[in-house]
């Protein structure tokens, strides 16, 4: 008996919605097995990892703080991936955005104006977009694979940040710690409520709404989907593939850059070597789990934020490494991509004599 994948006549809309649910279930099931192999009670471990973060006000605020950058970046990546432009380097664009936005507090520390923060955010977006323009240029000019170029540029950005923070931008009064000056109050994002939640969360929601409208209601969104599905049909329609590559790359770069400066001008309050715990990479999972749909990205961003908090919780109450969250994130991406095959294909079981035994899902 063997298993075969048979192409469906139509994309399955049901599977498109079911696939993330299936992937999450498979991730949790595999996670339970991993916990059990560590000698832990799987039920308790799963509870600590996935549900406990939702039980206190503090951790829910923390969840929002972590979800905001994931959603911001995920919305941009979703746009990119709709066009089949594979920007893998959001982490680098985030880093450059954080650096560009920090120019004001570090080099023009005394400029105090209502425009200070706005300028910082704009610089962050500009920095991220400019950095994303490099792989876009290389792709349109030399047909260089953007997966490779954007990914490699992440490391360039991180080393640049490291050099700046340990070198010219180090706080002279910082006892030689690799940190910049602490930002002043007017250089920080205002808080929403009394806790740690800041304006970044509002920006993320705004991005979701704006891009949900762009993706589903405007010609630009249509253009991006056409170019992604069928570039020749796109050119027949009068759209330019190059323009789409630039547009999606620049927008996703700008959003990643905005997420970067929001991290620095929000929870962090100064430049440090660890600008992000891999938000730019995790947002790739967010985009796919959210079905490349801005509203879906919102939910997926919250879920992936749980995996960060869960990792910390697991370290504290279960005594296992916080790296477990990377294992969970990796599994989730793996399962979502595998389950997505079921949107276009269905599984059939074939017995050795060639008869269909059972039509599967």
């Amino acid at each position: 008996m063997k298993l075969i994948l048979e192409k469906r006549q139509q994309r399955s809309k049901r599977m498109a919605l079911l696939s993330p649910v299936l992937a999450i279930a498979l991730t949790i099931a595999t996670g339970a097995i991993i916990f059990a192999m560590q000698g832990l009670n799987p039920a308790k471990a799963i509870f600590v990892y996935f549900l406990e973060p939702l039980t206190s006000v503090w951790s829910i605020e923390e969840l929002i703080v972590k979800a905001a950058p994931l959603v911001l970046i995920g919305v941009g990546l979703a746009l990119c991936y709709q066009a089949r432009v594979w920007n893998i380097g959001a982490e680098g664009q985030l880093t450059i955005g954080a650096l560009a936005g920090s120019i004001i507090p570090i080099l023009f520390n005394s400029w105090q104006s209502p425009l200070t923060l706005v300028t910082m955010l704009l610089l962050g977006m500009l920095g991220g977009a400019a950095y994303a323009a490099i792989p876009a240029f290389l792709k349109t000019r030399f047909n260089a694979n953007e997966i490779l170029t954007s990914l490699m540029l992440v490391y360039v950005a991180q080393y640049l940040a490291d050099w700046l923070i340990r070198g010219p931008w180090r706080d002279p009064d910082g006892f030689n710690f690799p940190k910049s000056v602490t930002f002043e109050g007017w250089q920080l994002l205002p808080a929403i409520g009394n806790g740690r939640v800041h304006l970044g969360a509002g920006l993320a929601i705004a991005a979701v709404i704006i891009f949900a409208v762009i993706a589903s209601k405007t010609l630009k969104g249509f253009e991006i989907r056409v170019i992604g599905s069928s570039p020749r049909a796109g050119s027949f329609s009068g759209f330019s593939q190059k323009r789409t590559i630039y547009f999606t790359m620049l927008v996703s770069g700008a959003l990643a850059g905005l997420a970067g400066i929001c991290e620095i001008a929000g929870p962090s309050g100064q430049l440090q070597p660890a600008i992000s715990p891999g938000y730019g990479f995790t947002a790739i999972i967010v985009a796919f789990l959210g079905r490349l749909n801005p509203v879906g990205v919102l939910f997926a961003g919250v879920l992936l934020a749980i995996s960060y908090l869960g990792g910390e919780a697991a370290q504290i109450s279960l005594g296992i490494s916080a790296k477990i969250s990377q294992v969970f994130q990796g599994m989730l991406l793996f399962f979502i991509l595998a389950c997505d095959a079921l949107i276009l294909y269905k599984i059939r079981f074939i017995s050795s004599n060639g008869k269909t035994v059972k039509a599967g899902i």
Binding site: S229, F236, G238
Partner: protein, 520 residues
């Protein structure tokens, strides 16, 4: 299996009984039975979506029937996959070839054969077999350098090397010149005389009458008749196929001295990519109220000409193109559509339509900037595109399973009607259409032809690019021929004999480089 049974050349070779194949609720094959004798050339006739391909795929093992039985030499068999079919002695030549362009003929064939590689011995066999059957092939030639007809020969020789008892041919002449088709028929007759049975799928009724001993006609997945095609007329066959009298195309009265809608003067464009064709000094006028057709063998610059005339490609184009008196040479396709021009490309899926988009989304593809109310203040109005979709579908009788299905789920003929109807719905002043009825059944083809004639009668200019000479003669006022990127002057259709067109297709009007030099 004993040897004498294996070698018998008489009696029934293949019998399929009561085959049913369901796709969801749709019965693509509904109780289909058919039998083929040794040495018989058996035609399988039917409209697009009648279930021919499904049946053939079941016989070739790439689909499994929902129910029904297959007998091979009187023995009941299961054919779980194509390699099992080949082991039985069933070979198939597909409509779309699967050859590696950068490999040679012998390498391509070696890849398809079981056993270990011995290119030298194989090359020798290829030469023998191909010469024996009048299909000359050079084993060391690169696929990229070969014409479509030559590529098809490779596929046929590849099958012949496995000494098939049954050869399935899916629309083999769709891509061939008349001469190449004649040669193919000779080969097929020769094969049949040696005892190999042939299952021949085609839309071309004249071919089937000329070639086939028996024809099974499918309609909506059912067998409607088994007939001797030689005893039928083309009309009666067509009637069986579509179930009603085929719409006959009404005669045209050519209009003289009407306004020039499109003028192409001295347009040249370099080839793009390894396999592109350069356009050289194209001159052409299309007047209001007339249909001008461009004949030619596939791959002689038709695709390039379409792209340049539609404005999909404006880079590196020299010369001038005017539309209603305005110079549009450097304007893109959206701007040309805004000047009331409309275009239908050759490839329906992936060029004329996005396969995974719904029909109403595919309406937006060419109508977003043509003042149809789809785009209002930068926002798409899906209600309008749905209305247009419904109108197009009912005007051209597009048959579909649900109200607004994915484009890829439509059969070829129905999608073509949709893609053509989407443009006709605008009543454009100029319509440029590449291969209007390629791979489309007789019913849909007649419908499209009539629509083109009606459009011209209403005063629009129509430019048709086609390989189908019957089609060209049926609808054209004037005919030009393209070969290797050069276009012959367009002459009135009644002054062009088949022989003349044949000569032009072979390049009679092409200018040598020296002549081109003098002209410019």
């Amino acid at each position: 299996m004993s040897k004498d049974v294996n070698n018998s050349k008489t009696g029934t070779l293949l019998e399929v009984k009561n085959i049913v194949k369901m796709f969801g609720d749709l019965a693509a094959n509904d109780d289909v039975s058919l039998s083929i004798e040794h040495g018989e050339i058996h035609a399988l006739l039917g409209e697009n979506g009648a279930g021919k391909s499904t049946l053939v795929k079941i016989i070739y093992g790439s689909l499994q029937p929902t129910s029904g039985e297959i007998f091979w030499r009187g023995r009941r068999v299961d054919i779980p996959n194509p390699s099992a079919a080949r082991d039985l002695g069933i070979g198939m030549v597909f409509q779309h070839f699967s050859l590696f362009e950068s490999l040679s003929v012998v390498e391509n064939i070696a890849l398809a054969l079981p056993g270990k590689f011995d290119l030298k011995a194989l090359a020798k066999r290829i030469i023998e077999v191909s010469r024996d059957y009048g299909l000359p092939l050079e084993p060391s030639a690169l696929i990229a350098d070969l014409s479509v007809g030559q590529r098809q020969r490779i596929e046929i020789v590849r099958c012949l090397l496995q000494e098939p008892q049954l050869l399935i041919m899916d629309e083999p002449t769709a891509v061939l010149t008349p001469q190449e088709s004649e040669q193919l028929f000779k080969t097929l007759n020769r094969l049949a005389s040696e005892g190999c049975a042939i299952l021949y799928i085609s839309h071309r009724l004249d071919e089937i009458q000329q070639l086939c001993d028996e024809a099974t006609i499918l309609r909506h997945g059912r067998v409607v008749a088994n007939v001797d095609p030689k005893a039928e007329t083309a009309k009666s066959l067509a009637r069986l196929m579509v179930g009603s009298e085929v719409m006959t195309v009404s005669a045209r009265k050519a209009k003289q001295d009407s306004a020039r809608v499109m003028v192409v003067s001295d347009v040249s464009a370099p080839a793009i990519g390894q396999f592109g064709v350069a356009l050289k000094n194209i001159n052409l006028e299309v007047h209001a109220g007339e249909i001008v057709s461009i004949a030619g063998v596939a791959g002689n610059g038709q695709g390039e000409l379409f792209e340049v005339l539609s404005g999909e490609r404006t880079e590196y184009v020299s010369g001038t193109i005017t539309l209603n008196g305005e110079d549009v040479t450097s304007r893109n396709i959206i701007q040309r559509r805004a000047l009331d021009a409309a275009f239908v490309p050759e490839e329906r899926l992936g060029h004329g339509a996005v396969p995974e988009f719904s029909l109403s989304e595919n309406i937006v593809l060419t109508r977003h900037s043509t003042n149809d109310g789809i785009l209002v203040g930068g926002m798409l109005n899906s209600g309008v595109s749905e209305t247009i979709q419904n109108r197009v579908s009912s005007d051209l009788d597009v048959r579909k399973g649900e109200a607004d299905p994915q484009a890829s789920s439509l059969s070829g003929g129905n999608l073509q009607k949709f893609v053509v109807g989407r443009e006709l719905d605008r009543t454009p002043k100029l319509l440029i259409i590449n291969q209007p009825t390629w791979g489309v059944d007789a019913g849909a083809a007649a419908r499209i032809h009539q629509a083109l004639l009606d459009l011209a009668d209403a005063g629009s200019a129509v430019l048709v690019i086609s390989q189908d000479l019957d089609e060209i003669y049926a609808i054209s006022d004037r005919i030009a021929v393209i070969s290797r990127g050069q276009l012959s002057p367009a002459c009135p259709a009644d002054e062009m004999s088949l022989e003349q067109i044949g000569l032009l297709m072979a390049g009679a009007h092409e200018k040598t480089p020296a002549q081109m030099e003098m002209q410019s």
